[in-house]
Amino acid sequence: MLNLIGIVGTNSDQSTNRQLLQFIQKHFADQANIEICEIKDLPAFNKPKENQAPEEVQALAAKITAADGVIISTPEYNHSIPAILKSVLEWLSYTSQPLVDKPLMITGASYGKLGSSRAQSHLRQILDAPELKARIMPSSEFLVGYSLQAFDEEGNLKDANKVSELEDIFNDFTQFIEITNHLVSKNPTKKAQKFSWEDN
């Protein structure tokens, strides 16, 4: 069984992205153990003197390292991802860089009809930066538009087409994890000993 973590990309008490991950967790329970990780209580990134992350960030990094793959579900704020999610990625890139070579899938939910498409494309570009360098599943985009109306009382996605779309993507992801892990075991990215932008 796959061990995955799902990162809720917001610090909001109410979140349709949290709902989406909870649905994914439940819906694919027979294929994967998915642990949902919150970032709401993580401190805001500020360049630390030593390359040491605060404990809460280290705990998240350890979970990422241990997992077979990561799902990030992002809201859209101002056509981008929320600052709090960006802050977490800054911590990870600046310290132990656990996302390097990690198979990763992006999902997102937004109140409007576009379903976080612009946030997802920013997130891809960010995760492609050399200190993050996650292995993002290509050619896939799972968007939940009108997210406030998308779930029923049991927290299930109401739209059957959306559910089967998600099933296809999740199926791709399980295979993508396998292929990626095979690829990177042969050819791992060397992690910089220290954050590298400032090495010159």
Binding site: A44, N78, S80, P82, A83, H122, I126, A129, L132
Partner: protein, 395 residues
């Protein structure tokens, strides 16, 4: 003109801070720039609204007052830092000070790419509807390999780079003027409804129960309030005059004075000339009118725009030159905000003045002469407000 520069980094030592300091110092003859930090702004959280906190309100006020904003952004993971992102989220959640504001982006980063990718993200973010800034196109100023860029005095080492930066700043100043024209009354937006020009509301000092349109509004209002007149003394800050003395004093002012209160009611003018002799004609029976009755409908948007500038504290005085008095006069309509000690908006002091004699006298006294310059530069910025002044003459 006043610009604020926002440092997009919360690092203790920031090259982007250094870059803004350099801009503020180097180009201070061109424009006044105040550099602002974002270090104290908390992480955005929609479940914990801190819009009213001091660091956010400080930014809000500074940005609102400024004519333009320069944002200097580092690049973190091919995007802008979370610290800057968080600031923009606060400034697009319950308040929107960047709405319509001219913005210029600059950036410094370690990579040779010099924040190119973060600048593109920042453009997209500033374009989102909740932010709605007006970002200057082109003129991308990227400072790559920033750790090698400055000398010990904090000056840019490379003269070509400094020259290019100067051309960007100059373009930005022109861009601000263009955006202001777009935002001004003749632009796309109709602002007529922004102000209650019919004075349907009331304020503490509104005199109730009298028809604002009555020809003898002043007499009726005086009776209703038991207003004093003639040789009765009134105590002022600082002095005592009789009402007559006060009238003669105000009539001797070298300007036509008009008081309209914050409820948009016309309450007073220093009446000593006939309407035909005035630069901006007023008739005695107009006093008491709501401002809507003093202007033609097509001027409402412009009038509202001026009042909003004053009421919201965007400007303390809006000036406009009215060229219809011939070449030997230079008549200026000044819409001056009247505020109390706390800065609360009380109304408008519109004073209309021919400033040509003042300038002539100055030239005569100092023996200086005017040399012809770029005439467009003088009138260009103010011409958009002319609809207002044209309108104030109507009755």
């Amino acid at each position: 003109m006043k610009i604020v520069g926002i440092v997009g980094s919360n690092a203790d030592f920031s090259y982007n801070h250094q870059l803004l300091n350099f801009i503020a110092k180097q180009y201070k003859q061109l424009v006044e720039i105040e550099v602002l930090d974002i270090k104290d702004v908390p992480m955005f959280n929609q479940s914990d609204d801190q819009t009213d906190s001091a660091p956010i309100q400080h930014l809000n006020e500074k940005i609102t007052e400024a004519d333009g904003v320069i944002i200097a952004t580092p690049e973190y993971n091919h995007s802008i830092p979370s610290a800057l992102q968080s600031v923009i989220e606060w400034l697009s959640f319950k308040i929107h000070p960047l709405d319509g504001k001219p913005v210029m982006i600059v950036g410094a980063s370690y990579d040779v790419q010099g924040s190119s990718r973060s600048q593109l993200h920042l453009r997209q973010i500033l374009d989102a509807p909740g932010v709605n800034a007006v970002v200057m196109p082109g003129n991308e100023f990227l400072l790559g390999e920033v750790h090698k860029a400055f000398d010990e005095e904090g000056d840019l080492k490379d003269a070509e780079t400094a020259k290019f930066l100067e051309s960007c700043i100059k373009k930005f100043i022109r861009f601000i003027n263009v955006v202001n024209v777009l935002n001004a009354p003749e632009g796309m937006k109709d602002l007529s409804s922004a102000e209650d020009l019919y004075a349907t509301g009331s304020i503490d000092t509104t005199i109730q129960g009298i028809d604002m349109m009555a020809d003898d509004w002043v007499e009726q209002a005086a009776e209703a309030t038991g207003a004093v007149d003639g040789d009765t003394y009134v105590k002022l800050d600082r002095g005592i005059l009789t009402v007559n003395q006060l009238n003669h004093f105000l009539n001797s002012m070298p300007a036509e004075l008009t008081y309209a209160d914050s409820n948009n009611q016309f309450l007073y003018y220093n009446h000593h000339l006939d309407a035909e002799e005035m630069f901006a004609s007023r008739r005695p029976e107009q006093v008491g009118y709501p401002l809507a009755e003093c202007h033609p409908k097509q001027a409402f948007s412009g009038v509202s725009w001026v009042i909003q500038q004053l009421r919201k504290g965007k400007q303390d005085v809006v000036k406009t030159h009215v060229p219809t008095h011939g070449p030997d006069k230079f008549v200026v309509h000044n819409y001056q905000a009247i505020r109390d000690e706390e800065g609360n908006y009380l109304g408008i002091n519109e004073y209309v003045q021919d400033i040509k004699p003042i300038i002539d006298w100055y030239l005569e006294q100092t023996g200086q002469q005017l040399t012809g310059g770029d005439v467009d530069a003088v009138s260009g910025a103010t011409s958009k407000v002319d609809t207002v002044s044209g309108a104030t003459v109507k009755g």
